[in-house]
């Protein structure tokens, strides 16, 4: 399901269809998170990615009216596609080789991930993640909040300056 969605993102001509394929992939990854006992991250994945980000994509597609069908047959740069195939397949091969050679050092060495069951409680993963974020990585957490504020202000500024120039032109 994840791979089908990913193929859909890169092969569908219509941007809206690509966005919906992206939703399929993101949901699949969320399911894989649940399987691997990362329950909080699965919830965040569904809410933030499949909810907010894809809706943002669809909003921009509708707003700009760029939902024209892209012609995938034409190839503006010759030999770009074969090169892209070679590069991406090579990347996949290199990554798999890296995982294969590195799997020897993958042994348990952390302090342990709590698996929610009757003894640890149903929200053990969330509690453990919160303890990690708000104790060891609290500075990084604060920096991310600053980053979000900067991103919001910057986007508002980008959109607003365009609006001013449009009104000046209309005057």
């Amino acid at each position: 399901m994840v791979v089908v969605g990913a193929v859909g993102v890169i092969t569908r001509k219509h941007p809206v269809h690509a966005a919906l394929s992206l939703v399929l992939t993101l949901f699949g990854v969320a399911v894989l998170f649940v399987i691997q006992q990362a329950h909080f991250l699965a919830a965040v994945q569904v809410i933030v990615y499949a909810g907010a980000i894809v809706v943002l994509f669809l909003f921009v597609i509708m707003l700009l009216g760029v939902d024209r069908v892209e012609n995938l047959r034409t190839e503006p740069l010759t030999t770009q596609r074969p090169l892209a195939v070679i590069v991406s397949l090579g990347l996949i091969g290199i990554l798999i080789a890296a995982f294969a050679t590195g799997s020897g050092v993958l042994h348990e060495r952390g302090s342990g991930i709590l698996i929610p069951d009757s003894t640890t409680g149903s929200d053990a993963n969330t509690i453990q993640l919160a303890k990690s974020i708000f104790s060891q990585y609290v500075v990084a957490f604060e920096v991310t909040s600053v980053l979000l504020v900067v991103a919001v202000v910057g986007t508002v500024l980008l959109a607003r300056r365009i609006k001013d120039s449009v009104t000046e032109i209309s005057k």
Binding site: V2, V3, A6, V7, V9, I10, A19, L22, T25, V29, L32, I35, Q36, A38, F40, L41, V44, Q45, Y49, I53, L56, V60, I61, L63, L64, V66, E70, Q80, R81, A84, V85, V87, S88, L89, L91, I92, L95, I96, F99, L106, E108, R109, G110, S111, G112, I113, L129, S132, I133, Q136, A140, F141, T144, L147, A151, T155, L158, A159, I162, V166
Partner: protein, 106 residues
């Protein structure tokens, strides 16, 4: 070496994340619509997140999941800024492909 079995093991997830990353790279290199290129970047970020969660599970270490949390926050901020830039560019010109943005003059 990677041991394959029908039950999904960590190597399955790692291979899947590698394949997802490769698809994302292919999409960024081939597609011309900036929005679809952004979606492919999201695909690559998700592949990295998947491998982080898998390795966190395998190493039995919660820090992997913490990093995935931060990656998600940064990806959200990146999408907001990127879409803002795309909207700002697209309002000035009606072109929809990345090739038309080659010149720097506004």
């Amino acid at each position: 070496m990677i041991a394959f079995s029908l039950v999904p093991t960590a190597s399955w997830y790692l291979v899947l994340s590698a394949v997802l990353f490769g698809f994302g790279t292919f999409g960024v290199l081939v597609r011309r619509n900036p929005l679809v290129m952004f979606m492919c970047i999201e695909l690559m970020l998700n592949a990295v997140n998947l491998s982080f969660v898998t390795l966190a599970r395998q190493l039995n270490d919660i820090n992997g999941q913490t990093i995935v949390f931060f990656v998600m926050v940064v990806a959200a901020a990146e999408v907001v800024v990127g879409l803002g830039i795309i909207v700002a560019i697209m309002r000035n010109r009606s072109s929809v492909t990345a090739d038309d943005l080659a010149e720097l003059k506004g």
